[in-house]
């Protein structure tokens, strides 16, 4: 019995000694470990890139489809109210929108590709800052261009609706051409202003929620990275 116990003890001692003879050959240094814990920065960047890509592609697909559909998915009554001149403007803006979206996808992709977990800490910080700036600039540009493009269209639409309305009810209200012009102008400004406000608020809320979440996370990680690198 004692012999058996001794044998077992010898065997386990031998195994322990064998186990402790191991020598690590593939060690990670501080910088590599540091990058591992900041993988979350790369993850946030990936999410931002995916969301931007989906959004731009969706916009691109809708624009291309509406362009080829001929009527821009607008109801006949809307087409009539907008008039040929505005439809032409909308087509031009659609073309600009397509080129702009493709360019933005390319730019965002370029900056996204620059961020790699294999780069040094300082390069990683630099690239994350660049990526943040590019995404924010693109977002501001998208909203500004949309507002600039849509403002004159909404203005004309508001104007035409008032004129059409007045003409339909010509029996009830008689307005001079000057008065009609001034009233329709006011209606145009009101519609364009309201539409601009709605678009701006919508995009502000949308980007604040979706992009804001990842951008804030990224900013926090970026701060931590900076602290370490200083």
């Amino acid at each position: 019995m004692n012999d058996l116990k001794n044998n077992n003890s010898e065997e386990t001692d031998e195994l322990k000694s064998l186990w402790h003879s191991q020598k690590e050959v593939n060690s990670y240094d501080s910088e590599k470990i540091f990058k591992m814990i900041h993988r979350k920065s790369i993850n946030s960047v990936q999410w931002l890139f995916i969301i931007s890509l989906i959004e731009l592609l969706l916009g691109l697909i809708i624009t291309v489809l509406s362009y080829f559909s001929g009527d821009h998915y607008l109801m006949n009554s809307s087409v009539q109210l907008m008039g040929d001149e505005n439809i032409e403007k909308l087509e031009t803006f659609s073309n600009i929108g397509i080129i702009f979206s493709i360019a933005l996808i390319g730019i965002i992709y370029y900056y996204y590709r620059k961020i790699s977990s294999n780069s040094s800490v300082s390069t990683l910080i630099k690239n994350i800052i660049q990526f943040r700036r590019v995404v924010v600039t693109c977002l501001i540009l998208i909203v500004l261009i949309l507002l600039i493009m849509m403002f004159p269209i909404y203005f004309e639409l508001g104007k035409n609706i008032t004129i059409q309305n007045t003409m339909n009810h010509a029996g009830d209200v008689s307005l001079s051409a000057e008065e009609l012009d001034s009233t329709s102008d006011t209606a145009g400004w009101i519609l364009a202003g309201s539409a601009t406000l709605v678009i701006a608020v919508f995009f502000f809320v949308y980007y604040f929620v979706i992009y804001g979440f990842f951008l804030r996370k990224l900013k926090k990680n970026q701060k931590e990275l900076k602290e370490i690198n200083s």
């Binding site: 003879s21 191991q22 050959v25 501080s30 591992m36």
Partner: protein
Amino acid sequence: METKETKFTKLIEDNQGIVHKICRIYTDSPEAHEDLFQEIVMQLWKSFDSFQGDSKFSTWMYRVSLNTAITLIRKKNRTIATSSIDSEPYFDVKSNEEDEEKQERLKMLYASIKLLNEVERALVLLYLEDLPYREIAATLGITEVNARVKMNRAKEKLKEIMNRNR
């Protein structure tokens, strides 16, 4: 100035051998080893605030690392059926003397450990690492008596596997 991150990375750098050994008993390839290593480091970082300092860093590290490895293995459904003594285990350690026979025996030991279930692997690792039963029990969240009973079974099983394949 020492920040939380620098303190943490230094501690991991000094104690990474523990994580490498855990990765080696739960993975079969260098890629899986690296993935698990990164995952464990992430989890250690996330729970670093919970490290009170009243226990040894290595004890806390064993607990978090083994929990992460076992949870991931269960998620990926990597059961013992996927391991075989014939398969060449991922092995990047060498003995001090660079003794080939020792290398072979270490390979055999790792391959045998991999044929145990995930909790038995953890028990054997902690035993080979020379942790006292009190710490083994605390690491695995079981009683000391239970740890001793389970350990005896695991050691017996390991011995059987090693004898069978000698």
